[in-house]
Amino acid sequence: MALSGHIGVTFDFNDTASSPGLETIKKVRLAKDSAFTAGQVAVLSGTADNSQLNIDLQDLTYRNAAGDLVSFSTVYRIAFQCDPGATLRFTGNSERLNSNNNNIALTCCIPGDDQLKISTTAGTSSYILAVYGE
């Protein structure tokens, strides 16, 4: 089994202003593309509501290309996409992030916390969770 991939984020804004004879631009660009050549990845998807949906990253039903169950001892990155919106957190509260309207939320992780919770404030939301680690 072999894994390769990358995670890229680009935050790019141009702020412009003009007055007689003067044009000003302030550019904000924050970008990072990280390549990975080893490790494990898993994808989970479903529907969450305002009761806490628990996910144990050491007890997943996702299988890799070789057909083996994927289990994480260390998580390096988590990407989270929801519609209309939900919050993801580690049970130890080391990370807490939110996705609305299918915008992807992304974080790297503090080692040692492998229990996740997904919940909405009210109603239901679809979610997709991509986990990269070892």
Partner: protein, 148 residues
């Protein structure tokens, strides 16, 4: 003053396996690209340590292209927050059950806002190093905010 920009995130992995004439590929791609034609953007950077650097989300101390200070009237005006740190640091909101992101090696972490009923209720973001898990006591950080 006018603001135009985009925020894109792409997660792309190929998981392959082979066994006696059989090749299997599982491809994972999760991507979003959002364009914005109005609003406000703010960038803040500096050095933090185990004592929190506090950022007032209503008046973060950033000047727009027109020379005016960028301010946000309500916490719910903030729509996206990105955070990057080198070698590693954490960013959290001071309010109840708010945002909490970490970054290491300049990776960019990003969240949509508001978070349900917890829209940065404390009114401040704090950036600091944990001084644990092998983290250096100091770090360089960048916080980028997009809002309306």
């Amino acid at each position: 003053m006018s603001v135009a920009g985009s925020i894109s995130v792409a997660v792309d992995f190929n998981d392959t396996a082979s066994d006696e004439g059989l090749e299997v590929l599982k491809k994972i791609r999760l991507a979003s690209n959002d364009a914005y034609t109005a609003g406000k953007s703010v960038v803040l950077s500096g050095t933090c340590d185990t004592t929190a650097v506090l950022i007032d989300i209503f008046s973060p101390g950033y000047t727009a292209a027109d020379g005016q200070e960028v301010t946000f009237s309500e916490a719910t005006d903030i729509k996206r927050i990105a955070f990057s740190a080198e070698p590693a640091a954490n960013m959290s909101s001071t309010g109840l059950l708010g945002l909490q992101l970490s970054s290491r090696d300049s990776s960019v972490s990003i969240s949509s806002m508001p978070m349900g009923i917890y829209p940065l209720s404390g009114g401040e973001l704090e950036v600091k190093t944990a001084g644990a898990f092998g983290q250096n006591p100091t770090a360089e950080y960048v916080v980028v905010i997009y809002g309306t």
